[in-house]
Amino acid sequence: MTRLSSFATGLRSWEGFLFAALLVILAVNAALTPEFLTVANQINLFQLSIEKVIVALVMTFIIINAEIDLSVGAMMGLSACAFGWMFQNGVDARLACLVCLGIGIAGGALNGYFIAAMALPSLVVTLATLIGFRGLARVLVEDRGITDFPDWFDALGQAPMLGPLPFALIAFGVLFVFLYVLLQKTGFGRRTYVIGTNRDVADFAGIDSRRHKFILFVASGLISAFAGLLYAARVGAVRGDVALGFELDIITIVLLGGVSIFGGKGSLTGTLLSILIVLNLRNGMALMNITGHIQTGVIGLLLIGSVLAPRLRLPRFNRAAKPKEVSP
């Protein structure tokens, strides 16, 4: 009986809504553009935004935790530029990759320190590090563009690795499964939700929310640095503006996936569906030669519409930002 009713609410849930939206988009795309359903195109559409969607997975944790990380794009840029700089200065590319991941951890730890230990708001801290990390990337590469990376590195981003699948896509798949289990099935995931719902309650239940937040920001820094390397490998070159402004796209994806900006609500399934929606929508529009501001505008409308539509039609939707009940 409980099973049945939870299945029914599942269908009416936010994920259900997203799933339906995704089907519609896929159907429309397939009907309107013949190239859409080719394997190459499906891989391409993922490839084109793979770094953003990888970071979106970790961002899901952070926003569920009622925090935000605006510095992810800048960290991607910093990691890519640090790689370029080291490579240009004769450091072995393998070692350079490791150092970049180290930079990601250090940058994440910096954010984490101010947010967890000093208890400053993450919006403020990561706004400052957004500027700071980007600045450091600039310091490293100045006005240069660095290219001609080793073949194995470029191949990592550009060549298929497993069948038609490139490394980044496989990494995304593995990471998704791992993070899905982590968030949805484990105690770590539960604590992420509890802290996001009410941090004090978590602290009073013996959950170390500071440590938890610190870990999340370190993970965010690490994955952003990793994504920055993937980006460098995919485009085979770096410049000071690598991943500029990616943070807003990433946050858009996560929010569209039904993760509440106030924390405590949302899921990785939602994020995955939202990734699929955004990517397919963009790709479909691009294939129909709709680009630029119209594309951005449609995503913007979708973002607002996604929050509005269920509220207008089905007031009992399980959406994140449901109006708060006053105390019973």
């Binding site: 105690g187 009410n198 239940a205 013996g206 105390s327």
Partner: protein, 509 residues
């Protein structure tokens, strides 16, 4: 018979499957104090939320001066002169007290004059009889002080109907009495006062008429002098009940579980010393702001003490994090369930296992949901939590049932030392007895309990000994056997200081 000021006319309200109210009617006359009583979850809060437009009735009507009205929200209700003070006080933490009182007032001019504002705020606070600095920012206020601010805010407006939902739940006897005086005065001035309380003696002291609600249904409305406490309780619970405040026999053993010596937190409290034995229930009494909660927070590692020693099972311990305290077997049930006790937007199940999550995790960290649900279900039955199933959000429960969920969370930890802050705040008489039984039962099984309570009858009934605090200072420890309300109050108000040499008895090894 004059036209009732406000009436509910065959009102029903359901939330999905829950029928919070069915076909309830009630009249409210000018100048009367009308009490509403009922068990937790009976529908009292829902009734007043309908009166103030927070909820719309599923069927039936709200009438003001006989006209059916649609109250779109608290503002509409306020414009009609209906103002409510809720169970959980709501203040603006960033504004000072004076502004908190007048922020929504429509009687003031466009521009505010600080001096004028302060003066008026002072007058109102004085009328309630609270000592409160009107320039203080509200974020530092205790629950009681916040309550006072809310009452003052209500008084600052032209009220015709003042609704108080358990206003005294967070207040000590002294302040509660003060508040009742205010309510009476208002009624004499012609205001209709709706008064919800689980403290029946209060109801008998101030109410003119009493309405009893049970399971969302109207049971009776009678003038106060046509009813008796026992009759009222019988109507509330639907059966006869025994005496709740019967003194239970002590189960204290000589074994000291917790020894506290000269515990001090700079700027907050100082030199707290007591021993807590296995099987013993030690109550901490005091007025609001006595800093009892702060002592508890130190013992639970949240606000580590800056001086003094704590011994636990004979070994000296330093408590700096809740985790540490929990590992020792110390549990703390907070007084503020909304902010500190429960994750309101999460299901009962998740809340019950919150403090013991690691027990439900496999080696890989995967949570066994079935085991969790089983535990939650067991507590639902054992503590008689009124809910169809444990998957619904805690926020949907009534206050009393929330309290039980919070208790379940900590009992599930199987602690040896249970610190229970305001265990029966806002819970009904039936549930109160259940909680008392649980506490006694816990002690009887060898656990030690530190109860912080502002409910004097409760303190006297439950405590084996009573530690009285006043503004951060330990005024003394009384044996329950020779304690009574007067003695406790005398200590709590600072009229006398204890001479009983009880603090150092049974020096720990």
């Amino acid at each position: 018979m004059p036209e009732p000021v406000l009436s509910l006319d065959h009102v029903s309200k359901s939330f999905g499957m829950t029928h919070a109210l069915s076909d309830v009617s009630m009249d409210l006359h000018a100048g009367e104090v009308h009490a509403i009583v009922g068990e937790n979850g009976a529908g009292k809060s829902t009734m007043i939320k309908i009166m103030t437009g927070i909820h719309q009735p599923s069927s039936g009507a709200v009438r003001i001066d006989g006209d059916a009205v649609t109250l779109a929200g608290p503002q509409t209700a306020r414009d009609r002169g209906v103002v409510a003070i809720y169970q959980e006080p709501m203040v603006f933490p960033d504004l000072d007290v004076a502004e908190n009182i007048f922020i929504s007032s429509t009687k003031e001019g466009w521009f505010q004059n600080r001096r004028d504002l302060r003066r008026k705020a002072h007058a109102l606070i004085d009328r309630i009889g609270m000592a409160l600095d009107v320039d203080q920012v509200a974020s530092g206020l205790t629950l009681a002080e916040q309550q006072a601010v809310e009452i003052a805010r209500a008084l600052s407006q032209d009220v015709r109907v003042l609704i108080m939902d358990e206003p005294t739940a967070a207040l000590s006897a002294h302040e509660a009495a003060q508040l009742r005086r205010v309510a009476r005065t208002l009624a004499e001035e012609g205001v209709s006062v709706v008064y919800i309380s689980h403290r029946l003696e209060e109801v008998f002291e101030i109410a003119d008429r009493v309405t009893v609600i049970r399971d969302g249904q109207h049971i009776s409305t009678r003038p106060i002098d046509e009813t008796t406490p026992d009759g009222m309780i019988a109507e509330m619970v639907g059966r006869e009940v025994g005496n709740y405040f019967e003194k239970a026999p002590t189960t204290a053993t000589p074994e000291v579980l917790l020894g506290v010596r000269d515990l001090t937190l700079d700027g907050t409290y100082e030199n707290i010393s007591f021993d807590l034995h296995r099987g013993e229930v030690l109550c901490m009494a005091g007025l609001i702001g006595a800093r009892r909660t702060d002592v508890a927070l130190s013992l639970f590692g949240i606000a580590p003490a800056t001086g003094g020693t704590v011994t636990y099972k004979g070994a000296e311990v330093r408590l700096t994090t809740p985790r540490q305290a929990m590992d020792l077997g110390i549990a703390y049930v907070s007084e503020d369930r909304r902010k500190l006790g429960l994750a309101m937007e999460m299901p009962i199940r998740d809340n019950v296992t919150l403090a013991t999550l690691s027990r439900y995790q496999s080696r890989a960290g995967i949570i066994d949901r079935a085991a969790e649900a089983e535990t939650a279900e067991a507590y639902r039955q054992r503590l008689n939590i009124r809910t169809p199933d444990v998957e619904i959000d805690v926020g949907m429960l009534s206050g009393g049932n929330q309290q039980k969920v919070m208790l379940a969370k900590w009992l599930n930890m199987e602690p040896e030392l249970l610190i229970f802050d305001e265990p029966t705040r806002g819970i009904d008489i039936g549930a109160k007895a259940e909680v008392h039984d649980l506490i006694r039962d816990f002690a009887a099984k060898g656990g030690a309990v530190l109860v912080i309570s502002s409910d004097l009858p409760e303190v006297l009934a439950m405590g084996d000994r009573i530690l009285v605090m006043r503004e951060g200072v330990q005024m003394g420890i009384l044996d329950a056997a020779d304690a009574d309300q007067e003695k406790v109050m005398a200590l709590a108000t600072g009229q006398v200081r204890s001479t009983a040499p009880d603090a150092r008895e049974g020096e720990p090894a």
